[in-house]
């Protein structure tokens, strides 16, 4: 393993210390336990948004803390859910009296730890709602799986709900909006290479130069199948077809199209993917009204991408366009 990491066991803490030094005045980074809050927290009278998950997906979630998006983020160890004490401390630090929404990605550990945190926070007098994001169509949602994974829609939900909270909407409203984003969004990803978890020191899985993994998760957990690598338009068609069929998206729909990089894929390639996706949607009468292209929800050093489509209406579009001022996403502010 060749990494810009001193000692694997120190990687998360040292990265957080770097974040604190890079964003003074914007973020407050707590190291015992680990959580990041916007510097002006708590914002009195505003619904507070807390998310969290394993580290290694940066800029998600810490990079989305700030006005117009999250109030706090709880980073776990690499690819490992954070713990209830982190979530409890973050919840209490940002609670401005209007309630706290936990945005949780659907992974067994994340769901269990956030459930325990909500129990503890409620026992301590906080009003907490939780919304679980599960937009990954690569996983069959059935009694026989942990259910669909939370992927790209998480970024969109955090942005849109952050804007709604900033407008002074109630906790029930913001939670309902979060559910709606999750209901209207679908995603699927693919990998060209594995990622290397620093503590493990070697790639999680192997793909030959001729293979790709379709339906990859953001922790290197395999998806639907391994296939021979193909031209970009074929890969995009494979992913986009699964996404479009699942909701389903229909001719006349207006969408936000999100092409996400997994960490080791250059922006040039992501734009080539976006070009193919745009073409694919055009041909089916689906209008790309807004877009996001870049590495926003990564899987360490994995090469690959994911596609997310969110069906827009005027409300969601306006909330997407509203100002946001975080290290990872910033416009209008």
């Amino acid at each position: 393993m060749k990494k810009l990491i001193n000692r694997p066991e120190d990687a998360v803490r040292e990265a957080l210390e770097g974040v604190a030094l890079a964003h003074p005045g914007r973020l407050t980074v707590h190291l015992d336990p680990h959580y990041i809050v916007r510097a002006d927290a708590p914002v009195l009278g505003k619904v507070a948004l807390v998310s969290g998950g394993g580290s290694g997906h940066e800029p998600m979630h810490g990079g989305f803390v700030g006005p117009g998006m999250l109030d706090a983020a709880c980073p776990g160890e690499v690819f490992t859910s954070p713990t209830p004490d982190q979530m409890l401390a973050a919840t209490q630090a940002v609670d401005g009296g209007a309630g706290v929404l936990h945005i949780v990605k659907n992974y067994t550990g994340d769901v269990m730890n956030f459930e325990m945190a909500a129990e503890l926070a409620r026992d301590a007098g906080a009003t907490v709602e939780q919304v679980v994001i599960d937009d990954d169509v690569a996983v069959r949602d059935s009694l026989y799986t942990a259910g669909r994974r939370g992927v790209g829609a998480t970024v969109l939900a955090e942005k849109i709900c952050g804007a709604a909270a900033e407008q002074g909407r109630s906790l029930a409203d913001v939670a309902a909006l979060c559910h709606r984003v999750n209901t209207e969004a679908r995603s699927m990803g693919m990998a060209l290479t594995s990622c290397t978890v620093p503590m493990a020191g070697k790639p999680t899985f192997t793909l030959t130069d001729a293979q790709m993994e379709i339906g990859i998760g953001i922790h290197g957990e395999p998806g639907r199948e391994q296939r021979a690598v193909a031209p970009v338009h074929e890969i995009v068609a494979l992913l986009a077809q699964a996404v479009v069929e699942d909701l389903p998206f229909a001719p006349g729909d207006e969408v936000l199209a999100f092409v996400n990089g997994m960490g080791a894929t250059p922006l040039m390639e992501l734009h080539i993917v976006f070009r193919e996706l745009h073409r694919f949607l055009d041909e089916r009468g689906i209008a790309v009204k807004r877009c996001l292209v870049g590495p926003y929800m990564t899987a360490l050093d994995m090469a690959g991408c994911s596609l997310t489509l969110l069906r827009l209406d005027d409300e969601l579009t306006a909330l997407w366009d509203a100002p946001v001022d975080t290290s990872g996403l910033r416009w209008g502010a």
Partner: protein
């Protein structure tokens, strides 16, 4: 060797489990890499190191010890294993109550309460390819021993053997819970990492509290076998 479970016994068990997890950290992580996300060994090792550090304080009886362990695991492990093992020890401690020593039947009942807690938290069933596939048969073996007149060492050994069988039986199973469930049929042919760490828990209990002194060594041998089997199966395209 003692006829009852005492605070000293529980402490020795936890230290032995911490050692076993440290010794098998990489194997647990490799099992997890095959069907999960390659962190089970490192997460459990981080948690049990924290437990071992805090055991230098004197927390009192078995119940207080178990509570300390549960809270430590919940706040240090993360992932799914943190809440699950944490809940196990919290419920085990609650059921142990104020007693300073527990006979086989009392220990079996307390252990069952811990396993029930895991089942409530994780909402898994037997055969879902999870840690419960080792814990449920172990709890049943303990209860059966507690219902008879088995000595503590016999009961703990029976539980460890039941856990070992349960662990090995996860190899052909298709996972229905946790990250391994994303693999569907591809999860078959691999031993479940959670069931493997749970078996280490039972194996070290037999070694440290039941007097099968070579528990850790037996653990090393069986662990190696389990890992090799999983790799052999994994080498063939599933």
């Amino acid at each position: 060797m003692s006829e009852t479970v005492t605070a000293a016994g529980v402490r020795a068990w936890l230290l032995a489990f911490a050692d076993a997890v440290a010794a098998h950290r990489d194997e647990l992580t490799e099992l997890d890499a095959a069907i999960g996300d390659a962190d089970h060994g490192t997460n459990m090792d981080r948690g049990m190191r924290a437990v071992a550090d805090r055991l230098t304080d004197d927390p009192g009886g078995p119940a207080a010890l178990c509570k300390l362990v549960g809270m430590t695991l919940i706040s240090t492990v993360g992932g799914a294993a943190g809440p699950l093992y944490g809940t196990f020890f919290l419920e085990l401690g609650k059921a142990a109550g104020e007693r300073t020593e527990l006979g086989v039947a009392d220990w079996a009942a307390a252990f069952q309460a811990g396993v029930d807690g895991v089942q409530r938290r994780g909402k898994a069933e037997a055969g879902d390819k999870t840690m419960l596939d080792a814990l449920l048969p172990a709890a049943a073996a303990l209860r059966a021993a507690g219902g008879g007149d088995a000595l503590l060492d016999e009961a703990l050994l029976a539980a460890a053997e039941a856990a070992a069988r349960g662990m090995k039986a996860t190899v052909p199973l298709v996972a229905r819970k946790g990250r391994a469930s994303y693999l569907g049929e591809r999860s078959a042919g691999h031993q479940d990492p959670g069931a493997t760490s749970s078996w280490l828990l039972l194996e070290t209990a037999a070694g440290a509290m039941g007097g099968s002194a070579s528990g850790a060594e037996r653990a090393a041998g069986a662990m190696g076998g389990g890992t090799a089997a999983a790799h052999d199966a994994g080498a063939a395209p599933a």
